[in-house]
Symmetry: D3
Subunit: 268 residues, 6 copies
């Protein structure tokens, strides 16, 4: 795997963004970190860029010179339309325009979400060709993002891996996460594989560890060579001890998107 | 088929919108027509509402009391991002929020587009489950619209038929349209069927007549009972006489979306 | 098509059985007609056999010497378990045992039913490989019958065409039947084709005319060469004039099996 | 996993039934054991109910108060029709009627069988959507049982897991069982998972360990989180030493159902 | 449709070749006709080239300057290996090498055959993605030809339409041909469409008219816009009157390739 | 597994052939080794037969008396047409004719190649039903060989396992081989399984170890019970250290067939 010159991590102050900051340093000579605030001091080999993804000019300046982007920025849970629209729709457009105009044509990892397909039943088995069924405005914005990435690939050759992240936390904390959990180790290895393959294309990847009760089948992206190593199963007894499983008609037991499916529109 | 009380037609001053105005009067006691301007005098049984789809309050007032909506409004070709975003993304959100809040829970026809799948090759055969491959910002906005409709159906029960319109004109005028053409008669019959079935769900429909060289298979929506009657084939000789077919490597010969696939981003 | 020596029609006093009696005479030198009673006088070329399908010895005697069987007998709507079990389960077993033991190894048409798949949604498109979803005890008995036929084919070489009959009446009389109707002419032509092909195998066939709003796809049995000629569409205006379509949440608008899906178990 | 109040095990004196008796005690406060005879003394936490599944009233009394049923009862190999019909057809109906009428709406595990699909070739790869091809009256009765379970789920909400059991013995004892073997440990873990998931639905599951030469693919039920741990491979050398593999045209080498496929009808 | 300068027809003295000679004159300014002998006098606009397809230099000279090739030449029924190999294997290689080296990069129609898939059962429904199952050395040579065409397309951009011709005669003359017949009119229209589309690619096409009992589904090549107009059905009564249908276990009733499946290897 | 009397290994002086010679001795009482030259001294239990596969009579004599054939002979990389045709087309025909005429009807392993499907993209996931896309004359000859094997199976019952060998070497030596590598151990175990199953049929098998980044899915041949044990992943760091990955548009990064796809025709 060739080391990149400069890898941009957006949303670097967030949960996954800070994991990326800590663990992706080996992928590039320089990590360029972006957030609106709160990134602390730059470590050696780090560059800090504060800007809003809605600021087109700033985004273009930030993207220039980057070989890779891990786009963890934007709104990461359900919110009011204006919030979603600004962060995940306008922000995505600005990022992809910046990538198109840059001299370096960066390869992009887009943090999509299981909420792009959240209204599928938990008894359904999905793969990369399954139809989308977003479970809220947030999920709709992720479908938008995947579509935008697809278009920039077909039209301009920019490669994106859209990862439909399940639940990426230190450990699963409820029964649904026994199906959706992705360990940090598995996420890091996935990111490494995405930047390692000579030709990425524009794949859809389900971001989950090798959980026993997974709903998702990544066979379409076997060429990446990603083999998650962890399984949520080691946490099952602990979760069983801490809580009852949800009732059978609870959204967290019915739908892949869980509680998001029961959420209403966030109004002003 | 029960007559509706009030059917809203957005974009009623546009090409398809004015066809709908002229030919859908039998579907409802009152046609409510919307555009930003240029609708002329109201005929008997018509109501005219001038407003911008970006005006949330105005849209809510307009949608209230409607049993059905034929949403032909919005931006209908590629344009700058701001134009697309305002008309097709914010506008769609406003329309669906208005539908959700209305007392009448209207059934909606969404004028989606073949440009949602435009980067598929012309030698590919698509159906309603095919993955989207938008061919520009306009096409991306249509994927967004279909995703939004899907979410409002799963979450709030609002039914939408998303019609991926091919080329709806009096007659096909080039070789690509021999595959994509939909006659006005077939469009009208499709709209009738969509409002006639007791239970619509949220289907994806390819809007094309019974053309010999169609790329699209509507078997997934056979339950609608729509059987297009026209075929572009009767116009083939005329087109052959008027122009050469495109070169084999021309986007209009390669991609389903035709020239849109060669279009760049419309910049400010 | 070679004329059969003797064609047995069970249930020959029923609705479809009497149509078969009237219209299948050209297929065999002798029609052997079976019911428990009420078959009137034998016409020339007819033999009448009164017996209950539950009477194993009588069924064996009746089947001996027949080259073909059109099995319209048995219970044809939902009923109490004992009725269903005796007529459609024990009766089927007796008929197939008789066929196995006979010297003539008759080819069999089994009047299965759309109620074997009745709990599929009307927006689903089914073919011969779709999973069964029976909508009552009657439907379960039809799944049993198809399974029995499959086993006698694999084990003993007896060929059966299982026709999942939709609604076979002079004309459709409600909105659901616009999808499920099969004309008598189309049924007769189907029966002719089944006895004409040199090698039948053990196919599942959906018994419906060429209706615009069909839910069923017979591509797997294209080799039969059956092309239904009629369409329910000519009756649509009449039905629309006579009744409102069902509400969207009515079983007759939701499920392929219609009202059967709302039926409870018939208890003693 | 919430402990059940009362778990009914039918056929508790049989091979698998007695394994269940010994190893499922942790799933419920009380095990209710059923057979026609031969259950010995009740252990603490056990209740013994002797009755025939053909006795409708007795079955209703037995099912009342149970939260779960492991239905191992009935006829478990090929037999005369009367035996099959009484035990596996009438008996199933009585059990499901009892479940429907009970106040506890038990979740049911139905011991279906590979003989429901036995006439598929061993070189075919099956999953839960494969068409059934029963290999005898016994297999037909299992197709009936699965259909009955499907109907009671769609109509009354009763959840059933139909396990198409391969060969559940202490160890595989011939070459075919190298493909079909399920260890007791894997069976027990499967039963645990079926009662643990909040929402079961009505799945078809192939009951086999993680054998190298499996014919069956359980991806459709990945949501159960069952991961069999054992493999028949450790017994291969022993079997190879004890016997020659079957000839290529022997039913045990051709069909998934093995010798059952060569079996005739058991006549009186 | 642009007229070609020069269209080569190989095998122009054969059954289909002479039909092509008579009916494809409108496609090109000059028809170049090839056979080893027996082409009579050249008509205006015709060029006659006598050569063996095994003569590499002669084939190169013949192909040079042609815009299109209808390759009807070669061995058209089962034969000894040397005959098949020389005509259909070496001959194909020479033709494609000539096309690759030519200045005109001709579009090619390859007369493949149903015998490339002849061992599929008549009750199977095939499309362009079905696996090949050749029924003799002739059929194997056709699989070779399709593979060679595929490689020259992927590697050198030469476009070929491989037509798996059923039975192309003035009319069907036995029961199997009711499924496989292609009328001359439908063949001619297919050839016209293949040369008319701007971009052909390298499709597999089943060459049969719109027969009721077709085994083949051309949906994958719908983009060609070919809609066969004839049906074998009008000849059914005549064939039924002239002969009995084949016995059920006759190869002509079992396999799509008919009698070829029963043929042995033609030995020296 | 019954020991064979005589197992023929063709190409026994080649890379894989000599591995087979060294490691398959336990499968048969006698190994018959074939090449044109260079086999050294016969070891105990070995027979050496020097002949050219183009010599029909010699091949027939060589095949007679063999129960199994591992056909590693022929041309194993791209070459001039005459070389390919003689070795892989005429040679295959001679071998299968010899098998057909022999008294022992040997089971055959045919060393097919990934170059039969080499023009599929590396991001495509293939299985045994995927369409072939050969990447050169060598690949076309392998499609021919698979077709010939299919025909001899359907017509004469000769069983063949066609292994589409990826890269079978002591270890992978470049990035593409991380996907295509098959260890010698895994190849040997595959050959053992092919000769062990009572009924083989005529399967297509992808010959690769359990590599993380595999492009191939062997689920269709799960019945063989082959479970490769090795993975290329242990060599990744070494390869990364020794060379850069190929550029994204290099054939070795784009196509499954790698550099073969960029190869021209080998001319005289």
């Amino acid at each position: 795997m060739t080391k990149m010159n400069r890898l941009l991590i957006t949303g670097a102050n967030g949960g996954l963004g800070s994991v990326c900051r800590d663990r992706l340093g080996h992928l590039a000579t320089t990590l360029r970190l972006n957030a609106r605030k709160g990134l602390g001091d730059a470590r050696p080999n780090e560059e800090i860029v504060y800007c809003d993804l809605g600021d087109k000019a700033a985004v273009e300046a930030m993207v220039e010179g980057c070989d890779g982007i891990v786009h963890m920025g934007g709104q990461s849970v359900e919110a009011k339309w204006d919030t979603i629209r600004n962060a995940n729709i306008d922000g995505m457009f600005n990022l992809y325009e910046a990538a198109r105009k840059s001299s370096t044509q960066p390869r992009i990892i887009f943090a999509s979400s299981n909420h792009a397909i959240g209204f599928h039943k938990q008894s359904d088995r999905l793969d990369a060709r399954s139809v989308t069924r977003p479970d809220g405005l947030y999920g709709v914005s992720k479908v938008f993002g995947e579509a935008l990435a697809s278009m920039y690939h077909d039209k301009f050759g920019i490669e994106t891996a859209s990862i439909r992240i399940g639940s990426c936390f230190p450990e699963p904390v409820n029964h649904r996460m026994l199906s959706t959990w992705m360990s940090y180790d598995d996420m890091v290895q996935l990111i490494e594989r995405i930047f390692a393959v000579p030709r990425l294309g524009c794949p859809i990847i389900y971001g989950a560890s090798a959980n026993a009760a997974s709903w998702w089948d990544n066979r379409e992206v076997a060429y990446l060579g990603w083999q998650p190593k962890d399984s949520s199963e080691v946490f099952r007894a602990k979760i069983d001890a801490e809580m009852d499983p949800p009732p059978a008609d609870d959204p967290t037991a019915v739908y892949q998107g869980g509680a998001f499916c029961a959420d209403g529109i966030h109004e002003d």
